[in-house]
């Protein structure tokens, strides 16, 4: 009895044959592209490779197409890599392409040179267009892939150097055919945020195809149109993309870009410290200067002041005061002595004093007149002694003394 295959079994068997062949599973083919078509919305690409009269149907899945720097156009000479197997539903064999390269790198390079010359002629690379970067950025917009280690590297540098800054990631593919449109959108989105004051467009290293999105005309124009300065850091130090030429500044690597974009916190700390010290010193100096000035003035004042002569006067006055006092004392004593002497004289000459010495005062008993001569004697006289008086009758008159 014959064993009959089902169609499915047959196709599977043939498929297995293709897939057992190592050459067919890892093959490079050089040919010309025809009937290139990118299906929507799947994003898978279908085309035919021709050379002379031979042709082979080709499929490139979206995932692979996405990684392409550029997709070929009909008539392009290319080298493709992939695997041959069969499409069982149609029992046709196809080349499943995972990479397409323009023949040689010459083609990409020519495109690059053409675009570069064109934009340069437009003045997009002119030095006058380059804007200065903010010295102390407040918010850095970063255009790169969220998953890329590059983004982490940039964050690390910013954290270390200038943690005052805010980072806003505007995520974008950085490789493949969809990358240019996303890069453009990411740049435009950041431009709508007023707080962003500088943009960093970056990507890690890769082949010329990997970096190709940064040689896209629209990306270049989006960078040129950015309201805020753009720093580009694409690939390695030796890679120069069109984006680098248009950007306000190019950095050799993303980490280097982060350094260019920010001041070093260490320098800022030193700066603040320096200003602080300067501030203290100036005030101290100002105060010292004024204190010294005040001292000078005081000394000058002392020299010029009447206070000095006032002191001299005061001393003289003291001297005089003392002298005056002793003079006065002398004079008072003299006066006192003189008064005492007058008093004594007065006392010595008073009538009472004479009576005290034993004399008597004789008056006319009738008239009270003092009788100081024998001629004046009246028949009745009053005699006053020191301690009382008597009245007397005159009997006889004696001869005048000394013969008057």
């Amino acid at each position: 009895m014959q064993i009959a295959y089902t169609v499915r079994e047959l196709n599977a068997h043939i498929r297995a044959l293709f897939e057992r062949d190592n050459d067919l599973q890892d093959i490079w083919v050089e040919a010309e592209v025809s009937g290139f078509k990118r299906a929507e919305p799947s994003g898978h690409c279908y085309f035919t490779l021709k050379d002379g009269k031979s042709q082979i149907a080709c499929v490139m899945w979206r995932s692979n197409a996405m990684m392409q720097a550029v997709l070929p156009k009909d008539g392009d000479a290319v080298m493709v890599h992939g695997a041959v197997t069969i499409y069982e539903e149609r029992s046709t064999y196809q080349l499943y392409v995972d990479r397409i390269r323009p023949t040689g790198v010459g083609d990409l390079y020519r495109q690059y040179e053409l675009l570069k010359a064109k934009l340069e002629a437009e003045g997009l690379f002119d030095e006058e267009r380059k804007r200065p970067l903010p010295l102390f950025p407040n918010c850095i917009g970063i255009v790169t892939s969220a998953s890329a280690s590059v983004f982490q590297d940039v964050q690390n540098v910013l954290k270390r150097r200038y943690p005052l800054v805010e980072v806003v990631l505007s995520a974008s593919l950085v490789q493949g055919i969809d990358a240019p449109a996303q890069l453009v959108r990411a740049i435009e989105r950041l431009n709508m945020l007023t707080k962003v004051d500088v943009i960093l467009v970056c990507r890690g290293g890769g082949s010329i195809e990997d970096l190709w999105a940064f040689n896209d005309e629209n990306v270049a124009r989006a960078i040129a149109a950015s309201q805020v300065p753009v720093v580009s850091a694409v690939g390695h130090e030796t890679d120069f993309t069109i984006a680098d030429f248009v950007a306000d500044q190019r950095a050799a690597t993303p980490s280097a870009a982060a350094e260019i974009l920010t001041p070093d916190i260490y320098d800022l700390e030193l700066g603040v410290e320096r200003l602080s010290t300067q501030l203290e010193n100036i005030l101290e100096y100002e105060l010292a200067r004024r204190r010294e000035n005040l001292g000078d003035q005081t000394r000058l004042l002392r020299q010029l002041s009447p206070l000095a002569s006032v002191r001299a006067y005061r001393q003289r006055i003291d001297d005089w005061g003392m002298r005056l006092t002793s003079n006065q004392r002398g004079r008072l004593a003299l006066l006192r002595e003189r008064v005492a002497s007058h008093e004594r004289t007065l006392l010595a000459t008073s009538p009472q004093a004479i009576l005290e010495r034993g004399y008597a005062l004789v008056t006319d008993a009738e008239t009270g007149k003092r009788i100081t001569s024998a001629q004046q004697v009246s028949p009745r006289i009053a005699v006053q002694f020191k301690d009382g008086g008597v009245e007397a009758k005159v009997e006889t008159q004696t001869e005048a003394k000394g013969g008057a």
Binding site: L135, F136, Q155, E166, L169, L268, V272, S276, L279
Partner: protein, 80 residues
């Protein structure tokens, strides 16, 4: 309460300043003070302002922590 907060609390104008603005003002102020010829009262006033700016700047540097956000397609910003 940190030193920075304390200072923010007793100076109305400072908290709104960016580091850049505060640093620039501090530099300018030192230059002005250094030129001399200011009345003592004004010197002291500038000095006090400068002192506050310096502490403020130092505080910003000490307490700074990198903020990382993501800008979405719609224009919203979310922390990353």
């Amino acid at each position: 309460m940190t030193e920075l907060d304390t200072m923010n609390a007793d100076s109305g104008a400072l908290p709104a300043l960016t580091f850049e603005a505060a640093y620039a003002e501090l530099e300018e102020l030192v230059l002005k003070l250094d030129s001399g010829d200011l009345p003592l009262e004004e010197s002291v006033k500038l000095f006090e302002r400068g002192r506050r700016l310096a502490v403020y700047c130092q505080g910003l540097l000490d307490e700074a922590e990198l903020r990382v956000n993501q800008l979405l397609d719609g224009g919203e910003i979310t922390p990353l």
